[in-house]
Each structure stands twice: as structure tokens, then as C-alpha cells.
Subunit: 175 residues, 4 copies
């Protein structure tokens, strides 16, 4: 297993974070686990050109967000070049173009792309179970994040427990 | 629907909290949702005779815990007598005797007991997905919390999404 | 010390929760510590007649909120009647009338009212340090929550560390 | 202001995170804000050679921790090289040698080192106010993290509010 960077892409409430935690528990080497939510939490609370959430789950981002996001991606790749192994969960709001940004940044760092598919109705139910005020992101993102994206491994988190999804990814890495 | 108190009993990582959040979203009246975790968080951080967690998921409680737990239970029931509707998720470490404490406190407050069954292997996988350092509670508690307990509704959270579990409970309440 | 119920009133970001945690560590008996935030977290995420937060820190509540709040207060008092000791931090948005609701519910349960005063500029700075998106509550609430309220102990959290505030309250209880 | 990397060093409970949040609010450009706690949260929950916390606040780290920490540091610096501005709060358990690791990684990236001094008794009181079970880190780390470290700006968080500490740093950056 020579991969050093793993990108787990899926819509909101598709179960990505749980899969990352299981991967960290199952993989023989220690991997760092980050989330796009960690990046958003690192942004200033109030920022011109940042990220905005609409009433029905729409997400829009401005130029300041994009510039810092590029810096974040470069930083994650640099952690891999410096000897680390990193799993990142992300939401490819731009579909294929989001993936291309990771590919361009990764260069020759061996990267595995994992697609987490989740029936939007199931994801919407899990969104409800989180108890957040905001709703709608699960359904809005379920399909669009996968448009034009190509994967090394694809899993269906609507019908498979997180730990089983993680096992399938570990099996792929061993093969 | 005249019930005012709903007790959701199940082991650690069986998905109780998500079911409570879905119930709050689906039920036509506003229900307060509390968890045994809220009670534990309200305890002093350090306390003689409190709650201790062993290395393999064992939980033991002392006399100070028991006294405050009785006060907590009395308080939750009083919220119902004062016109509130309350859902509590709990872990009946004492099985039937834990249920009896709720029954004694509830008196004539109409109470619904819900049993959340979850295959211990599935619960252990979800425990892994939470990424906590402590492990073992899910397997330790999966069966013991149901010993001798009788329910108005029983659900299987290993094979049913939280929102579907909640729908089954809502259907029972309507019937 | 015979008091069983302690109400800590102060505006947002005045440091109430830290004082409660210190009180729990310093007091010889175990006290449960709850916050109005715990009550708000127990509400359904979406609720007609609930609680709304305006863009400049305004808070407005509707009839469903008020009814459940009365049930919550009755429940907290019942915990004391059942042998528990409880500290609650609250925000008296209604000033004296908020206090009267607690007095009416408490009846003969010995209750201590603590006023936490904090210079609004200091509270606004601490609000900034929390990094939340929403701002303005600290300044909006700093004075209004104390209007017409009478206290057993009053502390100034702008110029006194939480643990020293807690020590002053403990000294009062011993006297 | 040409600095792109700011390292805020201080012991546990000295108020670093609040200062970072205030800096993000006060600085005219958007800065990412990370904490050593974010790095620790990204580690596998269970890891040989990771980080261990003793009963009196001791912290010890093993070789796997060190290797991933070096990757993390390299990644943060790379975010700055890629056009980002980053504030990191850290705990220099190794004193001067911890600082040297950042210097070596930063190379020609303009870096500002900020020392947050806090009287250990005050930090211990704030640790109590956090309500965590673990205690002792505040006192253990208050002095040792500054041994042999040289700073561009030094602040005293025991007697100065977070927002005022942040203002002093902003003034330095402007000068």
C-alpha cells in the first residue's frame, strides 16, 4: 500500500466522517483524518467572500473562500510529501472541477479517490437525526457532488454500515 | 395521543439520540428531548461515589450518582406534570430495576417505553465510527439493558434508519 | 448551608457557565449544574412559537417556548425537592418577571439568587473570543437582565476570574 | 503587514484559542486559525507511539506522534506558501526546540512568534472553569513552554482580556 492521500467525496449527511474514523481504526499505519468541516471551522467567523448557507441547504462560496481553500489543499498535500498519510473528507460542490483541483495539487503524490454514494432520502433522514436547524443540504448535494467524478473505490453508505464501507476501502488498498 | 413521557432504552451506540431528534421533528406537538448523557454532563467533573468508566467499556456508579439520578428522574416526571412532553433516552444498566424506578417516579403520568435493540457487532462498528478513545461499551450493554424490561414499542436500529424507527414509534402513538 | 437551588443570572458571555463549573468543583456536596442553553438544546430544532435569534443579537420567544420553559423550571425545582442540589444559569430576558417565575415555582425550596454583572464592552470582547458567527447578544443583554432583580450575592465577572467569583458565592453560602 | 504565519505559544488554559478568534475578527485580511488541538483531534483515536495524558496533567508523546506532527507543521507552512495566512496556537512542550522546528520548517516564510504568559494559578482556575475531568495541565505547562523561546510579541493573558491581547498583536503587526 503506497497511497499517502485519500479523498473521500460525498454529500452532506452521507456518513463520510464515520467512515474516516473507521479507516483510522482499521488501517495498520497511522493516518491523519481531516474534514472540509475542519477547514470551514478554521475560517474567520465573519468574512467577505466567504461561505454562505441558504435557507434550503444551498451553499455558496466567494473568492476569499476559494483562495484559502486552495491554500488548505496545498497544505494537506504537503503533509503527505513530508511523510504523513492523510485522509480528507470533502464535498465536491463543483463536481469534476473540484476533483481536478485536488489532482493538480497532488501531482505525483499517490492519491486514492473514494466516492460515497447515499440515496438522498436516506441522507435527508440522517440530517433530521442530527437535529440541526438547517435542513436541505443532504438532498441538494447527494447527486451533484459526483457529477463527472471518477473514483478508485465507490461505496453505498445508504445500505452499508460505516465500518463495512471502511473495510471495502481497506481491501482495495491491499489489492 | 395522550402520552406525556417517553423513555427510549438501548445500549451505547444503538442510535437512541438520533431517534429522539427524528421524533422531535416528526411529532406534531413540541417535545423536549433529553439524554442520560445530559444528566452525566450536569454532574460535577470530579465526584466521590459518581460514575466511573473502565478500560473495556464497563460503567460503575456509586451512591452519590444514584441519589442525583433519582432527583433527575423526579425532575423529568415533574416537567410532564407541569404540562410538558418529554422524551428521554436512557441506558438501563440495571435492566428491569431501572425500568421500575421510572415507573415508580412516573406514577399516573402516561408513559411509553421504547426498546431500541441493536446487534452488538453493529453497535461496536458505530462506536468505532464515533472515533472516541473509549471502546467496548456498545458490546457490553447491547443485551444487558433489555433484561427483564417490557416495552410498548420495540425497534431494531441495526437494520432500520433512525427516521424509520421514529416513524414506527409515531405510528404506535397514533394507534 | 441549607440552600438547594441556586440561580445564576447574567447576560450572554458574562461567564456564567465557568462560574457554575467552579462552584461544582469547590462546593463540598455534589450539585447538578444546568444551563438555559441545555434547555434550548432540548427543544425541537424547528418549532412554531419557539425561540428566534435576530441579526444583532435580539432574542424573541413565543408561546410554545414559554410553556416548555415553565415545565423546565418546575422540573428543576422538583429535582431539589427530591433531594438534589441544583445550580442553574439563566438569562432573565424579562428581568424581575423572570425572577418571579422562579420564585413562584420554588415555593419553600431554599433558593439563592446570584447576579453576574459584566461590563458590556468586556462581554462583547468575550463574545468575539468565542468565534461564533452571531454577535450582539452580549451587549444587548448586559443590563436588561438585571432590571428589577434582587440578589443574595452579586459579582462582577468583568474584573474577577470565574474561580474567584465562585469563591465569593461559596463564602456567602457558608455565612 | 507582510507576515503570513503567526505562532501563538502558551500553556494549557492560557486563553490562546480566544486570542486567535479575536485576531481573526480584528485583522483586515482573512487568516485561517488552527490549534494544536485540531492536530490532536486528527490523529487516530488509538495509536502506538501517540500522545498520552497522565493523571496530573503530564503529556507524553511517542515517535508516531512526532512524525505526524512534523508533517502537520510542514503542511501549515505550505498553506502560507500557497498564498494563505495562518495563525496556529501551539504548546511548546519542548520549549526552544519546539520553536526551532517551526523555524526550520518556515524557512523564508515571514513568521511572527507570540508568547502568551499566564500566571499558573490563574490558568489553573480557568482549567477548573472548563469543567474537564483532567486537571493539572495548566500548572504543569505555564512556565516550561516558554523556556528558551524568543518572541516578537509577548502578552500577559492573566491580567488582559483576549480581545486586548489581540489588539496588542495587531498593533505590533502594523508597526
Amino acid at each position: 500500500m503506497t497511497a499517502r492521500l485519500m479523498i473521500i467525496n460525498g454529500g452532506s449527511s452521507s456518513g463520510k466522517t464515520g467512515i474516516v474514523r473507521c479507516l483510522q481504526a482499521l488501517l495498520p499505519e497511522p493516518w491523519l483524518g481531516f474534514s472540509v468541516d475542519d477547514f470551514v471551522a478554521a475560517l474567520p467567523a465573519v468574512m467577505d467572500g466567504g461561505i454562505e448557507f441558504g435557507p434550503d441547504g444551498e451553499v455558496s462560496v466567494g473568492p476569499a473562500f476559494r483562495a484559502l481553500d486552495a491554500a488548505w489543499i496545498a497544505g494537506v498535500v504537503a503533509m503527505c510529501r513530508a511523510g504523513g498519510r492523510v485522509i480528507v473528507d470533502d464535498v465536491f460542490l463543483g463536481g469534476a472541477s473540484s476533483q481536478q483541483r485536488w489532482r493538480d495539487a497532488a501531482g505525483d503524490v499517490e492519491t486514492v479517490f473514494v466516492g460515497v454514494h447515499c440515496d438522498p432520502a436516506v441522507a435527508a433522514g440522517r440530517e433530521l437525526a442530527r437535529g440541526d436547524r438547517a435542513r436541505g443540504m443532504a438532498e441538494q448535494q447527494a447527486y451533484v457532488v459526483h457529477e463527472g467524478v471518477t473514483y478508485d473505490v465507490e461505496i453505498d453508505s445508504a445500505h452499508t454500515e460505516s465500518v463495512e464501507c471502511a473495510r471495502a476501502i481497506v481491501d482495495y488498498l491491499k489489492s
